[in-house]
């Protein structure tokens, strides 16, 4: 029996460019990349060298501090380039793909006949492990940890996020197998699945299903964990997206490392927003070809609140199932026509300072990347609380992080949150404070303190 959870605080930012529910296979791209920067806190140790031949499933690099966690090549081909940034930090490992994909064979298995230890080793070897993340800290799950529960995100509530049911079409068997694997890993602890009340894709699955209604961030695992089984100090919860449960299922059933994802191409700068089926790590240029309206565009891997800024020939992020293209806002705005004194009939605001909040809920807006104001001291109170559906005081937690007070951070509930949970606070902030960055800093501090 599904339980109902109603999230009241939060907000859906109604952007233009919702993806049409048509699925397309984009023109072939021959460039793929795995970006170590997608995995927070990872120090990669390279295995593959430039020029090496790899099969799909061969190890590209592993975690220097936990060498059992391997990051595998999504396709077969030649390691084309290792892109490095400052201090020779590895940013991307690029692979030039073969015309025909060649898979390393890990052997088809059935999760339910395996022990938790064997299954874990199998997933680690097969490069599937990084799909599972953990709270606290929102990092790749530590395979040595024993989670008190596992949360599967059956939908995403972020702006313009893909439809939770649509992306799972045709994946029912893979999802079932993946879920069985999670059950084995959970070792008797519950596996929770959060879905929208009208969702049909997950009927009859073997998990504790929760019907989550309400505005963003209702789809964030952090929010659901908080309302179902909150994390206390010392506890660990694993989280994974439904599409990646299906990916684990596919890996187990076929023995092939074949990480696919249905990705929504969205945003006001996209000519025809729709869905594409791609392999994780794919170059986005073939998807974007002829789809971007003009040069004044920011392409984001992920959603507008938490995604990464990429170029039009960048790569899909490891955890992302959405590409968003919105206009850049580099033009100054004159106060009377479209600045702070304007009537603002096109300005979307969570506050009621512009009249657009009176417009019908079906009205959608074209928001650009302008910060709409300058950094200021923290003045306006009560804004964060309106979009933060936790029994946590967001402002006070952020302040405790700023002053680096570890004791207060713990007491105020830092173990329960991830930067993404503060994304709407950051959006809403009158003083334009970089809240997600601050929360990440706090999590890093805590991680360092206790490691």
């Amino acid at each position: 029996m599904a339980k109902a959870i109603r999230i009241r605080k939060g907000s859906d930012i109604r952007l233009l460019g919702v993806a049409d529910k048509t699925l397309e296979n984009p023109a072939r791209t021959d460039l793929y990349a795995v970006k170590p920067t997608d995995f927070h806190g990872l120090t990669p140790k390279l295995v593959a060298r430039e020029g090496d031949r790899v099969k799909a499933g061969d190890v590209l690099f592993f975690d220097k501090y936990n060498d059992s966690i391997k990051y595998n090549a999504p396709v077969s081909g030649t390691v084309d380039e290792v892109v490095r940034g400052e201090k020779r930090r590895i940013l991307e490992v690029r692979i030039k793909a073969d015309a025909q994909n060649e898979f390393k064979d890990f052997g088809a298995k059935s999760a339910s006949s395996m022990s938790a230890t064997d299954l874990r080793a199998h997933l680690l070897e097969g490069g599937c492990w990084p799909l599972i993340q953990q709270r606290p800290f929102a990092i790749v799950a530590n395979p040595e940890s024993t989670p008190k529960s596992i949360f599967v995100a059956g939908f995403d509530s972020s702006p313009l996020a893909p439809d939770g049911d649509f992306v799972m079409e045709g994946e029912a068997d893979n999802f079932k197998e993946g879920l069985a694997a999670l059950k084995v890993l959970a070792d008797g602890k519950p596996v929770h699945l959060g879905v929208r009340p009208d969702s049909k894709a997950f009927n009859g699955v073997d998990a504790q299903v929760h019907h989550v209604s309400g505005p963003h961030p209702a789809g964030n695992p952090g929010v659901q964990i908080h309302h179902i089984d909150p994390i206390n100090k010392g506890e660990v919860v694993w989280t994974i997206a439904a599409q990646d449960v299906a990916n684990i299922g596919r890996f187990l059933r076929t023995g092939k490392f074949d990480m696919q994802r249905v990705v929504a191409l969205t945003g006001a700068q996209v000519n025809q927003p729709k869905y594409y089926r791609v392999t994780v790590g794919a170059n986005v240029s073939s998807m974007l070809k002829g789809q971007i309206k003009d040069d004044n565009t920011r392409v984001i891997s992920g959603n507008v609140l938490t995604g990464d800024h990429i170029t039009t020939d960048g790569f899909l992020g490891y955890y992302h199932h959405q590409i968003t293209a919105i206009p850049e806002g580099k033009e100054p705005k004159f106060m009377l026509t479209d600045g702070w004194l304007s009537p603002g009939l096109k300005k979307f605001s969570l506050s009621h300072a512009y009249p657009t909040w009176l417009m019908p809920k079906s009205k959608r807006f074209n928001l650009d990347t302008n910060s709409n104001g300058e950094d200021r001291a923290f003045v306006v109170t009560g804004q964060y609380e309106k979009v933060f559906p936790f029994d946590i005081y967001p402002v006070q937690l952020v302040k405790s992080i700023i002053v680096n007070d570890i004791d207060s951070m713990e007491k105020l509930g830092i173990y329960e949150v991830a930067p993404e949970d503060f994304a709407l606070c950051e959006y809403a902030c009158t003083s334009k404070i970089e809240v997600q960055d601050i929360v990440r800093e706090g999590l890093d501090t805590i991680m360092k303190e206790f490691s």
Partner: protein, 416 residues
């Protein structure tokens, strides 16, 4: 507008940047440019889009909310003046001499506004220049609040001194906007009240009342005192005594401070504080736009009414017998409730805290006013007191949240 912006960028800005001949005035230029043009800054990390609201819009809306009180206050300053010299009668307050009345108020109020903004912003610019940060918009509101809580005939030099004191001691020493503990405008008012008690009582509440008195033009019943001043005289005197009787007569239906006149604001007082109606329009704007906290306003109102009702129940002196609803429409109660107590920087920050803070703000306002006639303006003292208490209220509200979490953790460890 693009042409104007290009002109600024190419011709004007280079003079002010590092190395330009006017570089020491960079903050001035920067604040004026960003005033006219929201800069083309794009997001660099975190959320790629940001809400349209900024501090300028927020502060501007607060000023809009003050406009009804300001306009009414200007008119009322003239109205009180002509009443005091008997040129108009209370029977027909509106039709006669509308413009003349407004003119008196305008000529008295405009210099106050100019002085308040001039002194305050001047100091802000200096501090921003010294600290090399941009100007915060906070003073745009404080600078308008200060004239509104001044008596109409207050000397300009006193306003200048009070504003300087409030901005420097009340705000900048704590680190500027967002860091202050006490409400800036109330600090200015409190400074005047304690530094110049003689000048701040008596004859500055109605324009030219002293002059009118000396040349015998003053109409009967006009002493230049405010409602609170009259009421303060009844404290310590018998409820049915002569003084109490005559004062309470003024608060009767036909009196000078009848409930209706007090609500509409046809009584002497600070420029912006007299009309509960005009202030409530402002409150409507603040609540409708979500800028002002309805939690604080509502609980403040309830707090005031509660204390008033308690006094009514005892009725130990004439002041206490004044109905609670009448109590809250005289003096600065309404103005403090809507524009002072809601200042987000100095109020409690948690939602629960706001309710507690507001309630005691209203409660103490009436209490101080009645118990201590030496401080007729109880609202000022009450809000400043609650400003100081706000962090403590928040502390306890947050402690209860922390305790709840610790209990949960303890339970989890116990069952594990």
């Amino acid at each position: 507008m693009k042409a104007l912006h290009n002109f600024l960028e190419k011709k004007v800005k280079p003079n002010f940047v590092e190395g330009g001949k006017l570089s020491r005035f960079w903050v001035v230029y920067d604040s004026l440019e960003t005033f006219a043009f929201t800069p083309g800054h794009v997001t660099k990390k975190g959320a790629h889009i940001r809400d349209s609201i900024d501090l300028k819009r927020t502060m501007f809306l607060v000023i809009v909310a003050m406009v009804p009180a300001l306009l009414f206050g200007m008119w009322n300053a003239g109205h009180q003046y002509y009443l005091s010299i008997g040129e108009v009668s209370t029977a027909d307050p509106y039709s006669a001499m509308l413009w003349e009345k407004f003119q008196v108020g305008l000529l008295k109020t405009l210099p106050l506004i100019v002085v308040s903004y001039g002194v305050g912003l001047g100091i802000e610019f200096i501090f921003a220049g010294l600290r090399k940060h941009s100007i915060n918009e906070g003073f745009l509101v404080s600078g308008m609040l200060i004239p509104l809580i001044m008596p109409v005939d207050v000397p300009l030099w006193m306003v200048a001194v009070a504003t300087a004191f409030a901005v420097i001691i009340g705000k900048e020493v704590f680190g500027g906007t967002g860091m202050n503990i006490l409400n800036v405008a109330l600090t200015a008012r409190a400074f005047l009240f304690f530094a110049y008690p003689k000048q701040m009582s008596g004859e500055i509440w109605i324009h030219d009342v002293a002059a009118s008195a000396s040349n015998g033009m003053l109409a009967d019943g006009y002493t230049g005192a405010t409602a609170l001043g009259h009421l303060a005289n009844t404290v310590g005197k018998p409820v049915d005594g002569e003084v109490a009787g005559s004062v309470m007569g003024m608060f009767g239906d036909a009196g000078m401070y009848s409930f209706m006149d007090s609500f509409l604001g046809l009584i002497p007082g600070c420029i912006g504080e007299t009309s509960a109606l005009a202030i409530l329009i402002g409150a409507g704007i603040l609540i409708w736009t979500g800028i002002g906290s309805w939690r604080i306003m509502l609980s403040f109102l309830i707090g005031g009414l509660a204390m008033g009702a308690i006094f009514n129940a005892f009725g130990a002196n004439a002041y206490m017998t004044l109905p609670a609803v009448h109590q809250i429409v005289i003096g600065g109660f309404m103005f403090g409730m809507v524009f002072m107590a809601t200042d987000p920087v100095t109020a409690a920050q948690t939602n629960t805290g706001k309710i507690i803070y507001g309630f005691f703000g209203g409660f103490f306002s009436i209490m101080i006013r009645v118990f201590n006639p030496a401080y007729p303006e109880g609202v000022m003292m009450a809000i400043l007191f609650m400003n100081v208490m706000a962090p403590m209220i928040d502390h306890y509200v947050i402690q209860s949240n922390i305790k709840r979490r610790m209990k949960r953790t303890a339970l989890a460890t116990a069952t594990a």
